[in-house]
């Protein structure tokens, strides 16, 4: 069993809007620190590589689906550094984003805690962007 943590963010936009924004890999650069996204078919059918703060990072996305599931895995070199199940759910005219991270092997408790804080601040940037 790996440690898991769930973050939730309420977003005052319909779930279709939030999902349609997030399902497009190019949009990741609009609310996180990665830049210059490009498809990386060698890494996988739904994988993109970006320029990250600490070098190239590959993100393996979930194919488009009617459940608004946006699970992803982040890879640096050969190692999966972050893995999360994400979903957009309906809340009246708005949405709730649930983000469950699983602490990867070799990631320390301190590093996992810090990653989750960064993740929450990214998610709040996303919220602000979507609610603009």
């Amino acid at each position: 069993m790996l440690k898991a943590r769930t973050l939730t963010v309420e977003i005052a936009r319909p779930p279709e809007d939030v999902y349609n924004f997030l399902v497009e890999p190019a949009n990741l650069a609009h609310w996180t620190l990665v830049k210059n996204g490009r498809p990386d078919p060698v890494a996988g059918p739904n994988s993109w590589t970006y320029d990250g703060v600490r070098g190239p990072v590959t993100v393996h996305f979930t194919p488009p689906n009617p459940y608004f599931v946006l699970d992803y895995r982040m890879q640096m070199g050969p190692q999966i550094v972050h893995s999360a199940s994400v979903r957009i759910i309906r809340n009246g005219a708005g949405s709730v984003l649930t983000h469950t991270s699983v602490q990867q092997p070799l990631v320390s408790d301190a590093m996992f805690g810090s990653e989750e804080e960064w993740m929450m601040s990214d998610l709040l940037v996303l919220k602000t962007l979507m609610e603009k």
Binding site: M1, T8, E10, T62, V96, T100, V102
Partner: protein
């Protein structure tokens, strides 16, 4: 937008088996807050039961899917469906379950807090049921 509360819990039971169990509507009466004896299928694919929180309700479940999505609607026949989001995902040899509960119209904050406690109890019952050694 309603207030929402998300519960997540780890179940020490393999993901495939957990999903298969929860995706089968026949098993819902085993762990949810319904009177098991009254729980029965209806002709249209929905289910019906007397609930522990009062009154007959109908239940509608999400078809089998590859994402572990287990949303279900609990509703008074003829009224609007309020879907309850629920999902399971793998965590090594076990399973993570995520469930979101909404404050319903007319529900006070105290009632909402109490409902969250009841729902949490349901999930702890489910966890015990799945983690108990199989005979």
């Amino acid at each position: 937008m309603r207030r929402s509360h998300t519960i997540s819990l780890y179940i020490d039971y393999p993901y495939d088996a957990t999903y298969r169990y929860l995706a089968d509507p026949r098993n819902y009466g085993e762990w949810a807050a319904v009177d098991k004896a009254s729980y029965r299928p209806l002709g249209n694919g929905d289910w019906e039961a007397m609930t522990n929180f009062g009154g007959i309700r109908h239940f509608r479940f999400t078809p089998i899917n590859a994402f572990g999505v287990l949303d279900h609607a609990v509703f008074v026949p003829g009224e609007t469906l309020l879907w309850t989001p629920m999902r399971v995902t793998p965590n090594e040899e076990g399973t993570e379950l995520v469930f979101t509960f909404y404050q319903r119209p007319g529900m006070s904050d105290a009632e909402f807090a109490s409902a969250i406690e009841w729902v949490t109890t349901d999930f702890l019952a489910l966890k015990s049921l799945l983690e108990a050694p199989r005979r």
